[in-house]
């Protein structure tokens, strides 16, 4: 269980991340589901503006890990610090963290009883106490950013999967988070819709958002990620630049995994 250290100093991305601080610090994080250990002593930092793609077989704990980062799961041991706020049972800390961390789910999880606009304005209005008109204006900006302003008055069920996922991204962005978590955002999509979602994510990455993406889209990982992280059996096995990963991975388990999916 060796961890490849000192990866973010890779020359290619040196300038972009040169003077950025750690925005996510996870130290020795454990998570148990009953007798099953889902996360085993995971230590990982993410710097501001960094794009991290997490890979790993199903059940390897990669989703569990990012769900711990906004407290959809509670970690059992270790520390998680987001933007200098420690994740603990203090409700104010939790709310502060949740409003800084946006999340996009595999199953979109749009609210089916609200229109597209209603989905996006809900958070700004109810959590940020933004006036309705302002929230709607903000929502339209983000809908334009993800390329579907004309769908504002429709209901989620009337949209295609790709459109729904783009609305979900707009919904998360409307809270103006500093970090975006993506939990297999394209796994539930028909093949022809994957690209439109990845394009939006690529644009987001270019704009300087800090992103952690759990995905099986190797093209996206290779092209967009600053760093790849490989999870297996709840542990962080190996991390490094895309180049390192695809050309000379060190760990046997990483090689095995990559040989199966590439």
């Amino acid at each position: 269980m060796t961890t490849h250290a000192g990866v973010t100093d890779a020359a290619a991305d040196g300038d972009r991340l040169a003077d950025s601080q750690n925005i996510i610090v996870a130290e020795n994080v454990d998570k148990w589901f009953g007798d099953f250990q889902a996360l085993d002593n995971v230590t990982m930092n993410v710097r501001e503006h960094e794009i991290v793609v997490i890979l790993g077989p199903s059940g390897s704990g990669k989703s569990t890990f990012i769900r711990c980062l906004n407290r959809l799961e509670e970690h059992d041991a270790g520390r998680i610090i987001i933007d200098n706020i420690e994740m603990n049972d203090d409700v104010r800390n939790l709310n502060a963290i949740r409003s800084e961390v946006g999340m996009v789910f595999q199953q979109f999880n749009l609210f089916p009883h609200l229109s597209v606009l209603g989905n996006i304005t809900l958070g700004p209005q109810k959590v940020r106490h933004m006036p309705k008109a302002e929230a709607q204006q903000l929502a339209m900006q983000h809908l334009e950013r993800v390329g579907i302003p004309e769908q504002a008055d429709k209901y989620p069920a009337q949209l295609s999967g790709g459109q729904q996922q783009r609305v979900a991204i707009a919904r998360a962005l409307a809270m103006q988070p500093k970090i975006m978590l993506f939990d297999e955002p394209t796994s539930a999509l028909d093949p022809e819709m994957i690209k439109e979602v990845l394009d939006v994510m690529r644009e987001l990455a270019e704009s300087g958002m800090t992103m952690i993406v759990v995905t099986h889209e190797m093209g996206f990982a290779r092209e967009v990620a600053d760093r790849l992280v490989f999870f297996d059996e709840g542990a962080l096995v190996e991390q490094g630049t895309p180049q390192h990963f695809f050309e000379n991975p060190e760990e046997e388990r990483t090689k095995l995994f990559l040989s199966q999916i590439l």
């Binding site: 906004n70 999340m103 789910f105 749009l110 609210f111 958070g123 209901y155 919904r171």
Partner: protein, 411 residues
């Protein structure tokens, strides 16, 4: 005409305009239908004839009874007894105003969120004729028909006014929804105030009026208690979920009749007060247990992702429940909730068992006990049955309408 030279956006599929399919003449289609459905084979033909004979005899029997054999005087003579029983005569206008208020609400609600269809008009017309027929038959009480027709008029007026307001979202539409919604929420207390703010005591609610008061109290009270119960039972905090589970299981463990006896004997010592108020409390408490289970089912049917997305957006637990979870859960549970509502509507007859409360069915029994009408038991019960059926049918129609109206954008 057929070829429209419009520049189409690339990648969009334009379907050809809908073409009216050629139809065969009605007579041909009718003959075809009859042959296929009524006389497909020798056996089928025999069945059709047998069914026609049975149905025909039944119809003749019913018509014979309704129009020739039956003595409807038991209803017309006792109409006040059946309608309001011991409610003070001098306060009767409050009943009519109350009825007008309910009809006003129906009109406003349909005008705001739905629309009257041909079947709704038919239902109003048939029940109107029914009421006027009963009222006019006795001779003197022409005024009740006038009041009833006035109430129907109020309903159509309210409908016409609200249906005119455009449905597009805007400040006026929002105001309209708020006002009508607020009136609906306040309607039950308001109606009770209309009925009881004068000289009439709550004890004097009687006959059909008592059914009409008890059922909404049971339904609304059941929802008000049942929603927190359902949420509580699903809670992760053990004390809360056990308390709610215990409530539900204990209440469901005995029939409503049993709880009404509790209201009659035990609650008398515990909380005292009017028997009818205790009966109302029991109806609400009883219905709540069933409502809670229906809603809990819906809560469990909601995908976990809805909670997670609500939290990820930053909503607190209460906000998530109020804005995301409950609206969806209540929508899913409309059919079972309406089932409960119809059950409780019919169960209002059970209060007759605990004297001295008399509702429609109980007063029908009193009417039968009059020497003059001793032979007219069937007429009285048929009348009661028709009235109960009409209200239950109306509830089920309204629930279908609500489901369809809310169905927009459903998964």
């Amino acid at each position: 005409m057929a070829d429209m030279p419009m520049q189409q956006p690339p990648g969009r599929i334009i379907l050809p305009p809908h073409r009216e399919r050629a139809r065969r003449p009605f007579s041909v289609r009718a003959r075809e239908w009859v042959r296929r459905n009524l006389f497909p084979s020798t056996g089928g033909t025999l069945l059709t004839i047998a069914a026609a004979v049975v149905l025909g005899l039944l119809l003749i029997g019913v018509l014979w009874f309704v129009f020739i054999d039956a003595n409807w005087r038991i209803i017309t003579v006792n109409r006040w007894l059946l309608f309001a029983g011991g409610f003070p005569r001098e306060e009767a206008w409050r009943l009519w105003v109350g009825m007008g208020f309910v009809f006003l609400l129906i009109g406003l609600t349909y005008g705001t969120w739905s629309s009257f269809g041909r079947r709704d008009h038919l239902f109003v017309a048939v029940s109107g004729v029914f009421v006027v027929f009963i009222m006019a038959h006795g001779g003197t009480a022409i005024w009740s028909s006038v009041w009833f027709l006035l109430a129907v008029g109020v309903m159509y007026l309210a409908y016409a006014l609200t249906a005119r307001i455009p449905r597009e979202l805007g400040p006026i539409r929002t105001l309209q929804q708020r006002v009508v919604g607020g009136l609906l929420i306040a309607s039950l207390p308001l109606a009770l105030v209309i009925l009881l703010s004068g000289g009439a005591s709550v004890r004097q609610l009687d006959g059909f009026v008592l059914n009409l008061v008890l059922a909404p109290v049971g339904i609304v009270g059941g929802l008000v208690i049942g929603i927190p119960l359902a949420i509580g039972r699903a809670s992760t905090m053990k004390t809360i979920s056990w308390t709610c589970t215990a409530y539900i299981e204990v209440v469901r463990g005995a029939p409503l009749l049993g709880w009404l006896f509790v209201a009659l004997f035990i609650l008398d010592d515990v909380i005292g007060g009017e028997l009818i108020v205790r009966a109302m409390v029991v109806m609400a408490v009883f219905t709540a247990a069933y409502m809670a289970e229906s809603i809990r089912g819906a809560l469990q049917a909601l995908p976990r992702g809805q909670f997670e997305a609500a939290h990820a957006v930053g909503l607190s637990r209460m906000q998530a429940l109020r804005l995301i979870i409950m609206p969806q859960a209540l929508r899913i549970s409309i059919p079972p909730i309406v089932g409960q509502a119809i059950a409780i509507w019919k169960d209002t007859t059970l209060v007759t068992i605990i004297l001295p409360l008399r509702e429609l069915k109980g007063n029908a029994d009193s009417a039968i006990a009059q020497r003059e009408f001793i032979d007219d038991r069937i007429e009285a019960y048929i009348f009661v049955a028709v009235v109960f059926w009409a209200v239950a049918f109306m509830m089920s129609r309204i629930s279908q309408r609500i489901e369809r109206t809310l169905g927009v954008g459903e998964r």
